[in-house]
């Protein structure tokens, strides 16, 4: 597989997952904010911070109001991680490597692109927004279903899984962060605290699985454990990193990224997390995301970057072999 194509596929998977994760995050936050008593001020700006987009948000002169934040996160084409932008990117990447994707997969992504383009301008009310986000999630899942049902388990699949799992780990950690960050006022009553964790679980489609596996009432400590370190739930950070590991072991020249990955898994397993101390969760998630960034760098170095000297050397070796 061409390095350029591998990079494209990897990013396509990331963008798709980012679209789904972003939709999940926005749906959760909105639901959580609406559950709060009317007199509590809603802090919409936090969602922007969670996506690490504060600077761009300020630069484009948006205000932290419901209207501006949703406009920014959903529609803003000048913000590269808005839903509209990532869906367009995913489709662009798919278009560039259409020649190697199953036809249905391309059609699924193309459909998602048209759906978002046509529906977004009409999303004006809260309820329309909620429906829209649910639709985006379900269309993304449809695409994922096509991936699992039609792609051979080859290099293409490995790069796709690599991108998806990495992005999913990142998005799950951000959604946990929605709850742990100061979206809720510090003095919000207990009842809201547990409601908040419930919507986090629901947003990741994790509610039933949590109930089944953990069998205690919804408590912050247990939810954080489940979503960050759970080994069986497919959207937990730990599970996603295991998927990254599986994909990497199927690829050539994986030594460096694998080494980096094992360090991250190791820290995730050892770190002492206190969910009742929201600041500590927030700090951990922050660090975790930075580490995923270094893992991405290691992957890029191994597969996508091209150092001509290395390659000319390798081509000589290949030529000798063939001769």
């Amino acid at each position: 597989m061409l390095s350029r194509v591998a990079e494209n596929i990897y990013w396509m998977a990331r963008y798709l997952e980012r679209a789904e994760g972003g939709a999940r995050m926005m749906a959760t936050s909105s639901q959580m904010l609406f559950d709060l008593p009317r007199e509590t001020p809603l802090s919409w700006g936090t969602m922007v911070d969670i996506l690490g987009a504060g600077e761009k948000f300020a630069e484009l002169e948006f205000e932290p109001t419901e209207r501006d934040v949703t406009q920014f996160l959903l529609k803003e084409t000048r913000f590269p991680n808005s839903l509209a932008s990532v869906v367009r990117q995913a489709r662009e990447n798919a278009r560039v490597c259409r020649d190697i994707l199953p036809g249905e997969l391309w059609e699924g992504i193309n459909d998602l692109h048209y759906f978002v383009g046509e529906t977004l301008p009409r999303v004006r009310s809260r309820s329309a927004r909620y429906d829209f986000l649910q639709q985006v999630i379900s269309r993304c899942q449809q695409v994922e279903g096509i991936v699992h049902g039609t792609l051979s388990r080859n290099t293409l699949y490995s790069f796709m899984m690599l991108g998806q799992a990495l992005e999913r780990a990142d998005m799950t950690s951000r959604i946990v962060d929605v709850r742990s960050a100061n979206l809720l006022p510090k003095d919000a009553a207990d009842i809201y605290s547990s409601l908040g964790w419930m919507s986090v679980l629901q947003s990741l489609s994790a509610y039933e699985m949590y109930r089944h596996e953990v069998q205690v009432r919804i408590r912050g400590q247990a939810v954080v454990q489940f979503l960050l370190r759970g080994t069986r739930f497919p959207r937990s950070c730990h599970f996603c990193l295991s998927c990254v590991e599986t994909s990497l072991t199927q690829l050539p020249r994986a030594e460096k990224p694998l080494r980096r990955l094992r360090e991250i898994i190791d820290r995730l397993e050892r770190e002492h997390l206190q969910a009742d101390n929201l600041d500590s969760v927030h700090r951990f998630v922050d660090l975790f995301q930075q580490e995923l960034g270094t893992l991405h760098e290691a992957i890029t170095d191994s597969y996508f970057r091209f150092d001509r000297n290395d390659w000319v050397h390798a081509s000589r070796a290949a030529a000798t072999q063939q001769a």
Binding site: M1, L2, S3, V5, E92, I100, D111, F159, P252, S315
Partner: protein, 483 residues
Amino acid sequence: MSQTAEFKNSQELFDELMQADGSPRPVAADLLGYLDAMPAKELKARVRTVDAAIRTMGITFTVYSDGENIDRAWPFDPVPRIIAKKEWDHISAGLKQRLKALNCFIHDCYHEQRIITDGIMPADILAQSKNFRPQCKGITPPFETWAHVCGTDLVRDGDGTVYVLEDNLRVPSGVSYMLENRHVMKRVFPELFQNQNILPVNDYPSQLLDTLVALAPEGVDQPSVAVLTPGIYNSAYFEHSYLARQMGADLVEGQDLFVGDDQCVYKKTVFGPQRVHVIYRRIDDEFMDPEVFREDSTLGVPGILRAWREGNVAIANAPGAGVADDKVVYAYVPAFIRYYLDEEPLLPNVPTYLCVDPEDRAYVLDNLDKLVVKPANESGGYGIMVGPKASVTMRRQFARLIRDNPRNYIAQPTLMLSTVPTLCKNTLQPRHVDLRPFVLQADELHVTTGGLCRVALRKGSLVVNSSQGGGSKDTWIIDEEDL
């Protein structure tokens, strides 16, 4: 719905589906009967399905400087053009004959140039050719074939004669739309295909692959084939990607390839460098190798010409093949057929006046209001003047251009391109069409079954290029023996 009213053929117009008296031609009777019987509402619904299918399948073409939305849905008309198999067999033989002669000519240009020494073509024409590449002199590609893929534009004039309008043998495009048009038609009008013997078109990708594989350097068991594209912003990117997918070949950009110290071409893969044996290139000569042609090209691969000269990689079409894709050279193709093949041309050329010839030039300058003037080396319908439709200023401008650079211009009589009924706002109206079949040559010759039929969607317009408001139609070859 009834379509006959619009189709009282005047004497100068030839409709592909209707006879002069307004009745359907025998090969089109089934189709027109079917459309006649279809309620307008049903037809409308089908057209909507066509649009949806095109969008879902992502059949697009790219428009330059169209801002953000760089690819557009492909404009498609659901009424096909129909050609009887007997006529097609003749055309097909004529196309093969033509490409064979063109390849003899190209090979001759880069070797003895007998065509000049024997006095068939003046030396000036080659000397002043924009697409003659001295760097290719003395090279002998496999089968002495330079143009492996040729898109030949055919038009039918008012009297029913089919003419060759031009031979595109640099990087001709359109074949993927031909294939997708059929795909869409079968998806939306399946019953039409059940009851008639419409010849299939879908063997083109395998024929193209066979052609390319035949060119591989000797001794290579399983040649690796790559399609070289300028990238996603090229107007034919959809096609590059489509063909690569259909052939199971890698779609590469220049940056994906490099030439090793062993003068072989490699692609950069996640497994390390891997040899490439055959390149189906969809970028122009000039951009292929910054070491040899344009230094500023970032689309090409430095050293690729060296690898080609050494015979380590095959390139289709071969660099330099464009020397025959020149409207002045075009005028000599019938002479090439007689000279190289000792045969009479099966398909006529459109009468062509060469502005480089003083007598022809005088005639052209006197008759600019009747002629179509074309630059010798452009494609895509750019830089053309259609005399009868041009303004006085425009004609004056072209007169100046011709006097300044006569070698670069030719003129032809304005042909009344044949028409095919076309769906315009729910009624069928005649619109002008042309046809681009694709011809392949390596160890064997192949011609597509039919070709890409392009249609000028604007009333009265003779310009069919998709970059200029043209659309396309499916083309059916029907065996009339079965009727």
